[in-house]
């Protein structure tokens, strides 16, 4: 029974691990923190798994638990000198795919996202993942109207960073 549950869980997570990696990408700046957060998300998912019922999709459920871990449960470890910019390891933009101006813009946007607070990061993440306002409001626990208002504010904030 337990073995079966373990297997089922790990299989599901293996398939959907991108969600967690993307959250780590938004919330952390270096490889070590990325791994830390990913591990904590995995632990929290596993702890919550017995309560997961099949009525929702694993991925939908995972968005919520993983985001909650990043925003609320995860304790950032103080790290010494960050010798390597995470972007250069994993986000390497293939130069030929973009013209210089676009590339520059995207770089600026990622920098801008790093400056946002935890809640705003969550909103941007959910926007990038094409989540609708109902899902966003349920995940964060705010009303749909307020999710919409706040989302527009964050978008404006990002736009003004690009075009001051």
């Amino acid at each position: 029974m337990n073995k079966e549950l373990e297997h089922q869980f790990v299989k599901n997570l293996e398939k959907n691990q991108n969600i967690a990696h993307k959250i780590c990408r938004i919330y952390t700046n270096d490889q070590a923190s990325h791994n830390d957060l990913f591990q904590e998300i995995t632990i929290q998912l596993w702890k919550a798994y017995p309560k997961f019922r099949g009525d929702a999709k694993f991925s939908t459920w995972m968005y919520r638990v993983a985001l909650n871990t990043a925003i609320t449960l995860y304790r950032k470890k103080k790290r010494g000198i960050q010798t390597q910019d995470y972007d250069t390891v994993h986000f390497k933009i293939k130069a030929e795919e973009y013209n210089d101006e676009e590339e520059q813009q995207i770089k600026l946007m990622y920098d801008a996202i790093k400056e946002l607070n935890d809640i705003e990061k969550a909103l941007v993440f959910l926007y990038l993942e094409d989540k609708n306002y109902r899902e966003i409001s349920e995940t964060l626990g705010i009303s749909e109207v307020n999710a919409r208002v706040k989302m527009n504010r964050v978008k404006t904030k990002l736009r003004t960073i690009l075009n001051p």
Partner: protein, 212 residues
């Protein structure tokens, strides 16, 4: 193309570059220890309950009861202790219930609310301990002064006036000392939890700000 659309396009195109863990790597991870804030809050809270309970028991020895008896405070001490333990039990029960309610599948706002509630229970418990000890301390002090002046009158009647003044001074000093000590303990707690819960508080406020 809008900057945000560009970003979205880029975000999606990078999906291919994400790290990928194997089944075994994930399997090993689920048995690792969590370092979540909830775990720390739970451990620290239990230590707090234990600390005050042990302190309470450590103070009580044979001499303690002898002195209490001499001061005719037996009933008062027994009653105040029973009340104290009952309230502690209620606090522990409440704490456990709140702790059980913490669930990472709730919405972010709900989760934060539940964590803060758990923390608040312990905070109220500490406040109860501090205020409770202050009150019982003052009542005992009153009885001690009362007891002393009753016996002192007989032995040193001439010095009585001086003694009253001295007692007033002493009680005044004790009250100030008590207040200072409690203030320090309170500050200490604020500091620990201020640090531990800073991020959570900030995010919770941010969410609440969104929802007015």
């Amino acid at each position: 193309m809008d900057g945000l659309d560009l970003l979205k396009k880029d975000w999606k195109s990078r999906e291919a570059n994400l790290p990928r863990l194997s089944y075994d790597e994930i399997y090993n991870m689920i048995w690792k220890k969590s370092s979540s804030i909830v775990k720390w809050i739970f451990i620290i809270s239990i230590l707090e309950f234990l600390f005050w309970a042990i302190l309470d028991i450590a103070v009580i020895d044979k001499n303690y009861w002898k002195e209490i008896e001499e001061l005719e405070l037996t009933e008062f001490t027994i009653v105040s202790n029973i009340i104290g333990y009952l309230i502690t039990l209620i606090f522990i029960f409440q704490f456990y219930r709140n702790y059980r309610r913490i669930n990472s599948t709730d919405s972010a706002a709900e989760l934060m609310k539940n964590i803060l509630k758990t923390r608040k229970t312990v905070k109220y418990y500490i406040a109860f301990i501090l205020i409770g000890s202050a009150i019982t301390g003052l009542i005992s002090l009153y009885f001690i002064i009362d007891h002393h002046s009753a016996t002192a009158e007989v032995t040193a009647a001439t010095n009585y006036n001086f003694n009253t003044l001295a007692w007033i001074k002493l009680s005044f000093m004790i009250i100030i000392g008590l207040a200072l000590l409690m203030g320090l303990i309170w500050l200490f707690y604020r500091l620990i939890y201020g640090i531990l819960l800073r991020r959570l508080n900030r995010n919770y406020k941010e969410l609440q700000k969104l929802d007015v």
